[in-house]
């Protein structure tokens, strides 16, 4: 146990201040303390990607991130993606979600990719999502969905 710290960050666009053990896993901070349960725990050791979040725009596994690392950072979770993010519609239409437990992390990983590379090749999508495990789909329709979302004209600020 470490001495609690006062943590200030931007969470899903809103300033947040909380007193927290700096060694607390960000995944627990989100799920248990802040009630943001969209990030899931599939393995707890950074292999499955179900807990993926965007830290200053980069995808990280929140099970491997400690609360102290969030000081003054901008954190975005699945709950913080814009409601009209084309990935949502694309995943639903393509059949890219089945049981759904990997889906929030997969969508976050795809968002991180598209923010960096708006028009990635299928091969590039395949590589970029290789850190997110899905046991239901065989990935085919997830790749389809990201390709489809990338084709949607971007009408929103990223």
């Amino acid at each position: 146990m470490s001495t609690d710290i006062t943590l200030r960050l931007t969470l899903n666009g809103q300033p947040v201040e909380c007193v927290v053990d700096p060694t607390r896993r960000v995944l627990d901070l989100l799920r248990e303390d802040l009630g943001l349960t969209g990030s899931k725990e599939g393995c707890g050791e950074g292999e499955c990607g179900a807990c993926a979040v965007l830290l200053d725009g980069a995808m990280v596994n929140s099970c491997l991130l400690l609360a102290g690392q969030l000081q003054d950072a901008a954190l975005r979770t699945i709950e913080g993606l814009p409601t009209d993010d084309p990935l949502f519609e694309a995943f639903a239409r393509a059949g890219a979600t089945q049981c759904g437990i990997c889906t929030p992390g997969m969508v976050v990983a795809a968002r991180a990719l598209l923010d960096r590379e708006p028009a990635p090749s299928r091969e590039r999508i395949r590589e970029a999502l290789a850190g997110n495990l899905c046991r239901c789909t065989g990935y085919v329709r997830i790749l389809d969905a990201v390709e489809a979302a990338a084709r949607v004209p971007s009408g929103r600020a990223s």
Partner: protein, 788 residues
């Protein structure tokens, strides 16, 4: 009625189908409504993609405790006691042992030999012996470390199928949970006619499900005194039955609720009953306070069942022209320490063991063998992937001995109309397995690629390429008389505003039934699919439509839903003046309103239906002869691989999956089932290896070193459906979910063996085929690729 079993093989176009078609109104056009066969988006997609779906670990309640499980270490022995370190203040913990169980100390599956908590003797590592709970999840870890289970370990635990059979006892009589024999024709005559005989031994390993959501339950006692258990599961009524026995409560004092379930694949068929019982015991000991018992990944992999490891000895004989004369198979599964579902996994494995081939004589002996491994259990395919792997490799071996291609051997022997399968089932006139094979050859460009690979391999580099195929079929629904015994029930309920709910215990775990069952009901009701939803799965609200397993949901439960929906429409026609030809949602809603207006005190407009087996489907469990399944899906899968002789690494270049599945209810969901199943089976074939520790426990119980396919490992998976003829399911559908698990293993190993042909390598005979297995097979082969 005047039809025979043959009418129903593969669903046929038999009288049952016609009879059901006749029930539809004469004014209804014969053309199908666009609801069936259309890619209706999944009803659960919107909340899942946004992270709003609530899984069991996302729920919390005021005053909730967190539970943990104390487990054995040794692979069997006697429990001497459980020591609680006096340095810990245990007063703030809830503690449960076997002595606290109010009812039966049995999980209740089939033989009832497995305790909920070991009391005296135990049979495997990671067997539950005690439960603890505390409000602070963080304190559980230190508490577990302060509990010591004193064990008198048994001297020589048994981990090998044949060693256990040779030991002849110790776990159960003969160390054999079940011993089945399927015989067909005159084996001695078949052996006498054989001019070429192939013999081989094939093995498959354990496989972990790796549903991405680990298992978990929350239990509490509500204000009315009802024990409520909710969580991740496939079979709510199995959980209910176990709870009734363990807690000695009546069904009315129990309620089981399925929460959004993050994958199952069979892994949440039976084990959730254990966790539910554990959570229930904890909440009862805690005065009804909510207790959450959610496994982390390591515990989930350590404790829960795996796919049964198998070993199969095959002798198969043919005439010189390739016609099979006999097949003699000795199939054995490692059941682990308790019988759990092994008897039924075994029967499916035995029935699928001879493959989809015509063979005048056959003997298949199947045994589920007891060992000191944690029990193995249900996993998509349910015994069939193991025995199909063996027969497909044996067919390849026989082809090599005959000097003909594996393709030609299959073309000579595949089941065709008029044939009778080894199980004794007649193949109906509509079956066209050749068309399935032909499409697979065309889509994969099989022959041309085979020729290109021969040229490529002849250049002698370190990379070799091969293409291989598997031909197989998979029976849908419970084996034999299982569906008759289940007698599943489902219902539809209309509201006053014309909105309809499907009531069934079929549990959505990703496979799509909350959409497909609604499509089926909507089609029968003449409604747009938006007007139909599946009610939450809650044993106090929905009838027992059986477990969500065995590729039965769409085909069997769907059929019951279709019947209930037809009857609901008929009632509105009779009782509320719904015009027969009115297929509008508005007309339907108006009729519902009229129905309720005329019955001020009617609680609900609800129609129940029960499964009625097709007439003529008979199965003799003692001889293993008859019609074990009401319908089969037929498939040919083709894999193309590249092997690096230096590293042993195999890379899949292409995968083609062609299947005949009757009517496809939702093409996107159906293709998703096949793609996902193929990927899971690619893991089974190439990557997924359960490594055992000294006590038979899974030593690599982490996703870090139990490797499942990622997006970078999966080749293009090209899926094609043939809808040759109606199945026995709703609108002519058949079961599909397990089929794709059967074919990839044998197709990939056939492709690997084709790639290695000419290098002097021994044919591969074991799944998974890891790089080290490939290197072992090519040992002595010069690393530049030339034969030594």
């Amino acid at each position: 009625m005047g039809w025979t079993a043959a009418d129903f093989v593969d669903g046929g176009s038999g009288p049952a189908i016609l009879a059901r078609m006749d029930q539809s109104s004469p004014a209804t056009p014969v053309t199908r409504s666009p609801v069936i066969g259309s890619a209706v988006p999944r009803k659960d997609a919107a909340e899942k993609v946004r992270g709003r779906a609530r899984y069991i670990d996302d729920l919390k309640y005021p005053g909730m405790l967190h539970g943990a499980t104390v487990r054995t270490r040794a692979a069997g022995g006697r429990l001497l006691g459980i020591d609680f370190d006096p340095a810990v203040d245990w007063s703030s913990f809830v503690v449960v042992t076997a002595a606290d169980i109010p009812g039966a100390n049995s999980t209740g599956m089939l033989d009832g030999d497995q305790p909920v908590l070991a009391a005296d003797r135990f049979r495997h590592s990671a067997e539950p012996v005690a439960l603890i709970a505390h409000p602070d999840r963080a304190r559980l870890r230190e508490a577990l470390a302060a509990i010591r289970v004193r064990e008198d370990a048994q001297p020589r635990p048994l981990f090998d199928i044949d060693a256990s059979l040779a030991a002849g006892g110790g776990l159960c009589p003969g160390n054999t949970f079940r011993d089945y024999l399927m015989s067909h024709g005159d084996l001695a005559a078949g052996e006498a006619q054989a001019e070429v005989v192939f013999e081989g031994r094939f093995e498959t390993g354990a496989q972990e499900h790796v549903y991405i959501e680990p298992q978990g339950m929350i239990a509490h006692v509500d204000a009315a005194g009802v024990l409520v258990v909710e969580g991740s599961m496939q079979c709510p009524y199995y959980v209910l039955d176990t709870l009734a026995a363990v807690t000695a409560r009546s069904a009315g004092e129990l309620r089981v609720v399925q929460r959004t379930t993050g994958g199952g694949f069979g892994g949440k068929e039976e084990y959730p009953s254990h966790i539910a019982a554990h959570a229930a015991l904890l909440t009862l000991a805690a005065g009804g306070r909510p207790v959450k018992l959610v496994y982390d990944r390591a515990e989930d992999m350590l404790a829960t069942p795996k796919r049964h490891p198998s070993r199969t000895q095959v002798r198969v004989g043919a005439r010189r022209d390739g016609r099979l004369t006999f097949v003699d198979i000795d199939f054995a599964l490692d059941g682990g320490a308790y019988s759990t579902l092994s008897p039924v996994v075994l029967s499916r494995g035995v029935i699928h063991a001879p493959g989809p081939y015509r063979c005048p004589s056959a003997r298949v002996r199947g045994r589920a063998v007891a060992t000191n491994h944690p029990p193995n259990g249900a996993f998509r395919g349910f015994g069939a992937p193991q025995s199909i792997f063996a027969i497909e490799q044996a067919m390849d071996g026989l082809a090599r001995q005959l000097g003909i291609s594996p393709l030609a051997l299959r073309q000579i022997n595949m089941l065709r109309p008029g044939d009778v399968s080894v199980a004794g089932q007649a193949i109906d006139s509509a079956t066209d397995f050749d068309a399935v094979l032909a499409q697979a050859l065309a889509e994969s460009d099989y022959l041309a690629r085979q020729a290109r690979h021969a040229a490529f391999n002849a250049t002698g580099g370190r990379l070799r390429r091969g293409i291989g195929l598997a031909t197989f079929h998979h029976g849908a629904g419970f084996t034999g008389n299982g569906e008759v015994v289940l007698a599943s029930e489902a219902a539809v309920r209309a509201r006053r505003d014309g909105q309809v709910e499907v009531l069934a215990s079929s549990s959505e775990m990703g496979q799509g039934n909350t959409t497909t069952l609604c499509q089926i009901a909507a089609d029968a009701l003449g409604l747009p699919v938006e007007r139909v939803t599946q009610a939450p799965v809650d044993t106090q609200e929905v009838p027992d439509s059986g477990p969500t397993v065995a590729s039965r949901t769409c085909m069997v439960v769907g059929l019951i839903v279709e019947q209930a929906a037809r009857q609901l429409r008929a009632r509105l026609i009779d009782e509320a003046a719904l015009a027969r030809e009115d297929m509008s949602a508005e007309g339907f809603a108006a009729a519902c309103a009229r129905w309720f207006d005329a019955r001020a005190d009617a609680p609900a407009l609800e129609v129940h239906a029960r499964y009625e087996p097709p007439a003529g489907v008979m199965w003799d469990e003692t001889t293993f002869q008859g019609s074990p399944y009401a319908g089969y899906a037929w498939a040919t899968y083709v894999a193309e691989v590249e092997v690096d002789l230096l590293t042993g690494e195999a890379t899949l270049l292409d995968f083609v999956a062609v299947q005949e599945v009757g009517r496809v209810v939702n093409p996107v969901i159906a293709a998703g089932q096949v793609e996902g199943g193929v990927a899971q089976a690619i893991g089974f074939a190439l990557y997924e290896k359960v490594v055992r520790g000294a006590q038979g426990e899974m030593a690599n119980n982490r996703i870090t070193n139990y490797i499942i396919p990622t997006s970078a490992d999966v080749p293009p998976i090209r899926v094609f459906f043939q809808e040759q003829r109606a199945g026995t399911g709703p609108a002519g559908a058949k079961g599909l979910g397990e089929l794709p698990m059967d074919g990839p293993g044998p197709a990939i190993v056939s492709a690997l063996n084709a790639a290695l042909e000419g290098t002097g390598a021994m044919p591969l005979s074991r799944l998974p085929a890891m790089p080290e297995d490939i290197l072992e097979a090519t040992a002595g082969v010069h690393r530049t690729g030339e034969a030594a």
